[in-house]
């Protein structure tokens, strides 16, 4: 009985929108014009279908989607581990009893509070601009200026760096987990002659793996939902190198008014996220260690 309110909320605000989105993705759906024509899986065929051209090369019906999948996966698969590594590394250091440690904890958390807003995007554009501080520092080492936001190769990395910079909340969760590791385990390991590195890999890391799993899924989802940075800093380019799926879906729904098609892409995104999350959960039995 006590779970009924939760079930109602779940059904109304989670399950229903997903089902409604799937149903509407089977239509040529245009709520503004009031048109809704059933077209079966045509929207999906437009996304995943293709044919061989005169030269025998495979050509997607809608290559833009696959460009976006590529851009999104690049961002997610490089950005997620980077955030986790950064967050864990800083949390590990901040777990030591250092002078002024609280100040550092706050300082590292601030970028997370700022989030991916417009002001941050502008600052980031300037930091990585042609004559920005990043290039100024690189020039000291004789590196020619790099176009961080206008070069097809570097633009995704600029956004990944921005994401990594905002590791504060992930770091705090790691820090809480680290503080829960019993000091007696380290004392016992020291008595047995284990060095700090061995303690890190044999005690600390295994004991925080449940939190690592939680953070991995969370950061993964956050990266799939990234919108502002690519929209404002790299303007989705160059040549769609940072044209993430959520922006493409937004464009087709609210700019091109192709709601049914946008919903089909949303379903594809849900599938991709679901698959990756499933992989993380299935593999977790090999690397996540619960204390019981």
């Amino acid at each position: 009985m006590l779970l009924i309110p939760w079930f109602i909320g779940m059904a109304l605000f989670r399950v229903y929108p997903i089902i409604a989105s799937f149903v509407n993705s089977l239509y040529q759906f245009q709520p503004i014009r009031g048109t809704r024509e059933f077209i079966g899986f045509d929207n999906y065929v437009r996304i995943v279908g293709g044919s061989r051209n005169a030269y025998g090369d495979w050509v997607w019906n809608f290559p833009h989607f696959w460009d976006s999948v590529s851009a999104t996966l690049t961002y997610v698969l490089l950005g997620t581990p980077l955030v986790l590594i950064m967050a864990f590394f800083v949390a590990f250091i901040l777990n030591f009893k250092l002078k002024g440690v609280n100040l550092f904890r706050t300082a590292y958390y601030i970028p997370s509070i700022l989030g991916g807003n417009v002001a941050v995007a502008i600052v980031w554009s300037q930091v990585f601009g042609g004559d920005g501080p990043v290039n100024a520092i690189l020039s000291i080492f004789g590196v020619d200026p790099i176009s961080w936001t206008r070069d097809e190769f570097f633009a995704p990395f600029t956004l990944i760096f921005l994401s990594a910079w905002q590791f504060g909340s992930v770091m705090l969760i790691f820090l809480a987990a680290l503080q829960n590791v019993s000091p007696t385990l380290y004392e016992a390991a020291s008595i047995d002659g284990a060095k700090k590195t061995r303690q890190l890999f044999s005690i600390t890391l295994p004991l925080v793996t449940p939190v690592l799993l939680f953070n991995t899924v969370n950061v993964l989802l956050r990266h799939f939902q990234e919108f502002n940075a690519a929209y404002l800093i790299t303007l989705r380019g160059p040549n769609r190198a940072t044209d993430f799926l959520v922006i493409l879906i937004y464009e087709y729904a609210f700019r091109r008014m192709q709601f049914g098609f946008a919903l089909a892409m949303s379903m594809m995104l849900l599938l991709i996220i679901g698959l990756l999350t499933l992989i993380v959960f299935i593999t977790s039995k090999y690397w996540v260690h619960y204390s019981d």
């Binding site: 290039n135 200026p145 176009s147 206008r150 070069d151 160059p238 040549n239 008014m257």
Partner: protein, 470 residues
Amino acid sequence: MKKMLLAVCLAAIAMFVITACGGNDATPAGGAATPAPATPAPTPAPVETPPPVAEDWQLNDGNPATITFEWWGGDARHAAINDAIAIFTDRYPHITVNPIYGAFGGYLDRLTMDLAAGTEADVLQSNFAWVHALGDGYNVFANHNTLPYLDLTEWSDDLRAFTTTRDGELSGVPHGITGRVVIYNTEMFPNGFPATWDELIEVGAEIAANNTAVDGGNNRYAFFPVGYQSWDIILMTMILNEYGVNLQGGGQILPSVDQVEAAFEVMGRAIEAGALPTFVQQEAPLDTTNPVWMQGRAGGLFEWVGNIFLAAGNFGDNDPGARQVEGVGVALLPTMTAGTTANSMQRPSLVHAVTQGAVNRGVDHIAAYFLNFLYTDPDALLAIGDQFGVPLARSAAATADAEGQVWGLMADGLDLLVANTGDMCHLFEDPNLRPARAAAIEAFRTGGATAREAAERWVAEQQSYLNAMN
């Protein structure tokens, strides 16, 4: 001069509308022009005798009612319109007008959501392209031909043709016209902006002779178009001026691959010579606060007439928004062939429309009365001032003229614009066609496509969207 300007505006609009999307009257250069299949301009319905103005108590039979008015703009526009609303509600105290306003960013998203949910405002400000993209025959906007109280004699037939959609429905009323013109640095171009691309490339190469930074640095450029819309309009204007063909007609993309390729090649030569920036050199911020322009390192920008003061004011030691600007001139785009008519692509600057939602809610007559009030009431016109730009509706234009609102660089820009009329096809800013062109131009500028490949993409991708639309 100002009266003459407004008269020329109206005459130019007439020419503009007559040519519609199909082609223009520009003399094709070098005999290479392909005659453009003409697409008939929408024919506005004839205007009947102006409706009577309601006495204060008559509006809605004296019963209380509420309407909403949504617009975008800056603080000055918000204040001016709120003043006009206050005048209206003082005069008709039983009517409440709820204002909804904000910045342009996000406006279309909110509008789309509201339209989908049926909660759109009763009267709203719209872009020209949205009237066609959102409402063309789909009951998003009311048919203004049949609205009571709206005095359509305020707008000429030609002006109304802009917002006439399928089946002769009038989906809104345009406020004025706008287009992009070159504003140039007179120190860099003391004899005026080059008239042809060849001249610009030649001068641009000299200006760029000391450009050493591949990423921009302190380089100087003869011409620095900001934002992909500028590059898009530049390419289309080149095609329009050189070959006399516009974007589309009869569901077909009119420029041939060869014609688009030729325009891309000229653009490529200008980039190669340093007259135009490369893609990498043109970093954000992509607006008129770009330091390249502000610091006097750009020979020119390509800006909307309505933005002239903002753009020119950001130049050198001028004050942003200043009308009296030192060191800045106004010109048209260069042409590909000497002696060819240089046209500029124009479209309505703003559209105001009563929505179908107002009809459904039974307040369309009040919404229409309010819209008419904004365009005809002397007090409202004075309150609004030039906050919507230069008006072309009869009463609003007369007030702007009497109040001396059109002068300085903006007047110069409008003079140029209306004297060199081109036409922006109503599908030019369509949300499906424009990204296709932008992607082709970006691919070319980043070296991802040759002029030929970019031209093929420019034509083919737009054509596929047109096919899907039809």
